[in-house]
Amino acid sequence: MSGHPAYTEFHPRWYRRQMSTWWWLGKRAYLVFILRELSSVFVAWFVVFGLLMLRAVGQGDGQYQRFLDWAASPWVVVVNVVALLFVLLHAITWFNLAPKAMVVRLRGQRVPGSLVAASQYAGWVVLSAFVIWLLVGAG
């Protein structure tokens, strides 16, 4: 006999419920979760889009202009708007949840999660500003 409790290991009369394929519609939190997970598709899309752009840049000014025109076509704009929303969802959820994975200590004191999140947001803003400056301002 091992340390395991003496159960009736299996019982035919237990009622076992199956989760429906649509379980994530049942609760707001689950829906947000699935949307957050779907952001992955749009992150991938961003890489594809970026590669197309870089290839155009590599092929000279003409291709670059054509790329910009293509990117202004309605369906690409729509895709990018949606993608931006998803990517923002990703960024926000990521910054909010990341403090959970790390315990940051300053002089022996645990830094509260809200502070960690706030500093991440600050970093985000600075970095975004730098990218804009690099691409637009420094020209």
Binding site: P5, Y7, Y15, K27, Y30, F33, E37, K100, G108
Partner: protein, 247 residues
Amino acid sequence: MADSITLQVTRYRPEEESEPTIQEYDVPLGRQWSVLDGLNYVKDQIDGTLSFRWSCRMGICGSCGMTVNGEPKLTCGAFLTDYAPGPVRVEPLANFPVIRDLVVEIGDFIRKLPSVQPWIVREEERPVSEGEYLQTPEELDDYQQYSMCINCMLCYAACPVYGLDPEFMGPAAIALAQRYNLDSRDEGSRERLDVLIEHEGIWGCTFVGECTAVCPKGVDPAGAIQRYKLTAATETLKSFLLPRGAR
């Protein structure tokens, strides 16, 4: 305010029916009454056949977890007035087999628990005569939150990953592993890592986060699992970078 409220209670009588049904009961809407008080009123005054678990009625024994209006709750800590005017749906906890009425089978957790070695592991045990292991309040604080788990299983009921894949170790068990890992007296984190690094351990969790949202004791299993992933990943990286044997 009305002076009574309707409970819509899920019934399942395994000897008579093959599927759960819903039964309604009207109970008084007492000012301080919890959902559990309502159920006890039913059991004592209306229908003695209703089965559910409870004991401490003060949110510490962890036995009265049920689904109340779709949310996993300790029924002794969920108050009827907060659901007025009703009706209040009371169902068994999700993701577990139902034994009867509101009673679910949690043996799965009980069987998994020992596998994460939720006890102090030491290479060498110090005799009691040498006194206590010193542990500063800060060191206590490192794991205290994870030691607050009452095994109420609300987090398992809220976690879709567990619902989809019962092999998943689940939030509370991992939080308890972390409770011991972070205890300054413990030396067993290596052994626990070997168990939890399997797919059914921490990696199954996709950070839905509902476990933490429903936990009545502020344990934050989602955070525990994330922290554990970070540790496990860096440990693995180290073992790749460092030569063999040099742990």
